[in-house]
């Protein structure tokens, strides 16, 4: 494999991972933008998505494609419960209060997952795993193509939803002016619950998709949480397209850095890129309100 072929392969690899970073980040961006909450439990929604998907397939007899949406709905339910218990009572308090409560929530969710499923990795069986697809110098599996497609499609649907649907417009209104929105009749509590559910659901989808390749572990949400925040900052608050492109850029930067500079420094290099971007464009690459 020559250098050019390796670069193309790593770019493709990076795009697949990047689509998942974007999917992870979109929920974080919505929660942060609409509720001004830094949700430290977002990584655990990602993990729970993987575990629920595993549970539905191995215990309930679901096939993989049916388990995906059900896992999303189940984790969305966990998201609604989380919002009611850890966030709603603290509305109006300083941001670090909800930061701490969501951090505590993440610890609780992780421990519960560990108690229920143990610490050993769980395998998710996907019908697309290990079916090789060769496109010139690039080797992929059907599952990785499926992951990328799902990421782009779901983010696309979310973009259209926020842009065109009544609920999406309501979300944009709340971001613009929370008090005015309430005066106009938007139920803020319902909006908050819906936002948390949407965020948790998209994180769960990312966990279910990647869990099939990498197995499901209680600690697998740590790095996606950090990268998710990086993508939100890089993409710019309130910009769905920005989140998608930033996720893809981060994924590709990581892969190329690991391959051509240093494996051990790939994360450092990717985050250094984030810092450089913010130095030149503090509002993010695509910083613009929705």
């Amino acid at each position: 494999m020559d250098t050019f072929s390796l670069a193309i392969q790593q770019v493709v690899n990076g795009l697949v991972m990047g689509s998942m970073y974007a999917l992870m980040s979109i929920g974080m961006m919505l929660i942060l933008g609409i509720m001004t909450v830094i949700n430290m439990a977002h990584g655990e929604f990602y993990v729970l998505g993987g575990y629920f998907c595993y549970f539905l397939i191995t215990r309930m007899g679901f096939n993989y494609l049916a388990a995906l949406p059900v896992a999303m709905v189940l984790v969305a339910g966990v998201g609604i419960l989380s919002e009611k218990i850890t966030v709603r009572p603290l509305v109006g308090r300083p941001w670090f209060t909800t930061f701490l409560t969501t951090f505590g929530l993440s610890m609780i969710l992780r421990d519960v997952a560990q108690i229920v499923w143990g610490v050993d990795p769980r395998e998710i069986d996907s019908p697309f795993l290990h079916k090789r697809v060769v496109l010139g110098p690039v080797y992929l599996t059907e599952h990785r193509i499926f992951i990328f497609a799902m990421g782009v499609v779901v983010i696309g649907i979310l973009y259209l939803f926020i842009k065109r649907h009544k609920m999406g417009m309501a979300m944009r209104a709340v971001v613009r002016d929370r008090e005015a929105s309430a005066l106009m009749g938007i139920n803020l509590n319902a909006m908050n619950s819906f936002t948390f559910a949407l965020g948790a659901g998209t994180a769960a989808l990312a966990g279910s998709l990647l869990g099939a390749i990498f197995n499901v572990l209680p600690s697998m949400g740590e790095l996606p949480l950090v990268k998710g925040f990086a993508v939100v900052i890089m993409g710019g608050m309130g910009n769905v397209q920005g989140i998608l492109f930033s996720g893809l850029i981060l994924g590709v930067a990581e892969s190329l850095a690991a391959s051509f500079i240093s494996l051990g420094l790939s994360d450092a290099i990717a985050f250094a890129l984030l810092i450089v971007i913010l130095l030149f464009k503090p509002s993010g690459l695509f910083g613009k309100r929705i």
Partner: protein, 376 residues
């Protein structure tokens, strides 16, 4: 009345004439710290099986120190060295064990030595191959498994002699064990002059995405891959290699991590022809190996693996040392007794040198036609 009372006294004590000396006496405690949860849990739980089996065998044969039973005190450190240090202290100061074996990975063996040195308690390392496990010098520490250099020599010499094996790409865990392993292998290849190491990489503890590493390896077109990845990540790594069409026409090698029936069950079709270095295999014919195999088959209906054997040996050895010392309380006597032991263990002849190394050799297996075969 007096006669009835006398009869009752005799009747009460009569059965004790048939009870071996030591029954009801305080057990002899041996402390084990293992990763029973976490990424190394497979090796930890297999090791524990071997230890429990050895303790049962010693107890069935009448125990030690006049019939006292061996009791294993087991704690889980999850494969985290800092937790290993904490539980080592607990084993010694709270559980009052006579000997400790806190193992897996090598970083944990090394970290715990601070405790065993300070508290002057005999520490056995049975699953720590990294050179630093014994190279730093510690009078109370005894390594019963082989060293990474011996493993590297056995496997490295075999790989170097393979036809058309000119280039090798390697990956190992990013810890003392993994770095020691690759370092030792590279030293062997350098000495022999073949093969050329075109890539070395280290993966993180919980890592399961090997795509970037594997793509880089593939781009360098080596003749041989050395994939020292722990279970269950090893299955994922092999599957990802297959996804990238890396396996065809290449030599595949690994460490003890490939000697795993679960791995063979899951991805055995991808391992065909793979060679691996091991400390022990059930095909060994010596009396102690066969004793272990028989005991394991009787209890579990299957053959033991390398990890089981590495759990068996320290308990047997600790029992011998305590018996020879004549006490389970005097650590200096236990240390001296351990130092002087010469025993034909399943892994080979144990005779400790000044560093506390046992001197046992390593071996090479090959996975072929669904089975593991001893080739060196």
């Amino acid at each position: 009345m007096k006669k009835i009372f006398l009869a009752w006294v005799v009747w009460s004590f009569f059965p004790t004439l048939f009870i071996p000396g030591g029954w009801g006496a305080e057990p002899v405690k041996i402390g084990l710290g293992l990763p029973l949860t976490g990424p190394l849990s497979f090796m930890g739980t297999e090791f524990l099986k071997g230890s429990q089996l050895a303790a049962e065998e010693v107890n069935k044969a009448g125990g030690i120190l006049g019939g006292r039973q061996i009791e294993l005190v087991v704690r889980d450190h999850k494969g985290i060295p800092a937790e290993g240090v904490t539980l080592a202290k607990r084993l010694i100061t709270e559980d009052k064990v006579s000997v400790i074996d806190v193992d897996l990975p090598s970083s944990t063996n090394i970290a715990v030595q601070v405790v065993s040195k300070e508290l002057k308690v005999v520490q056995i390392s049975s699953y720590g191959f990294a050179p630093d496990v014994s190279d730093k010098g510690h009078p109370y520490h005894f390594r019963v498994c082989t060293r990474a250099e011996e493993i590297a020599k056995a496997l490295g010499q075999y790989l170097a002699a393979l036809p058309n094996n000119k280039k090798i790409a390697m990956v190992a865990p990013n810890d003392d064990y993994g770095r020691g392993d690759l370092g030792s292998l590279m030293a062997v290849f350098k000495k022999i002059g073949n093969p050329e190491v075109v890539y070395e990489a280290y993966y993180e503890r919980n890592q399961t995405d090997f795509n970037t590493i594997l793509l880089k390896m593939k781009s360098l077109n080596p003749d041989c891959y050395y994939i020292n990845v722990r279970w269950p990540a090893s299955a994922i790594a092999l599957q990802q290699m297959d996804d990238l069409a890396m396996l065809k026409g290449k030599y595949l090698s690994s460490s003890i991590n490939f000697f795993n029936k679960d791995l063979a069950k899951r991805v055995g079709h991808l391992m065909e022809g793979a060679v691996m270095s091991v400390c022990w295999a059930p095909v060994f014919k010596d009396p102690e190996s066969q004793k272990l195999v028989r005991a394991y088959r009787a209890k579990y209906g299957d053959d033991p693996n390398d990890s089981v054997s590495l759990g068996w040996t320290p308990i047997m050895l600790a029992s011998m040392a305590i018996q020879k010392a004549g006490t389970d309380k005097d650590e200096e006597k236990i240390r001296v007794a351990m130092k002087g032991i010469q025993w034909e263990s399943p892994q080979g002849q144990i005779r400790f040198d000044d560093k506390g190394d046992s001197g046992v050799p390593a071996h090479v297996l090959q996975y072929k036609n669904g089975e593991y075969h001893l080739i060196k």
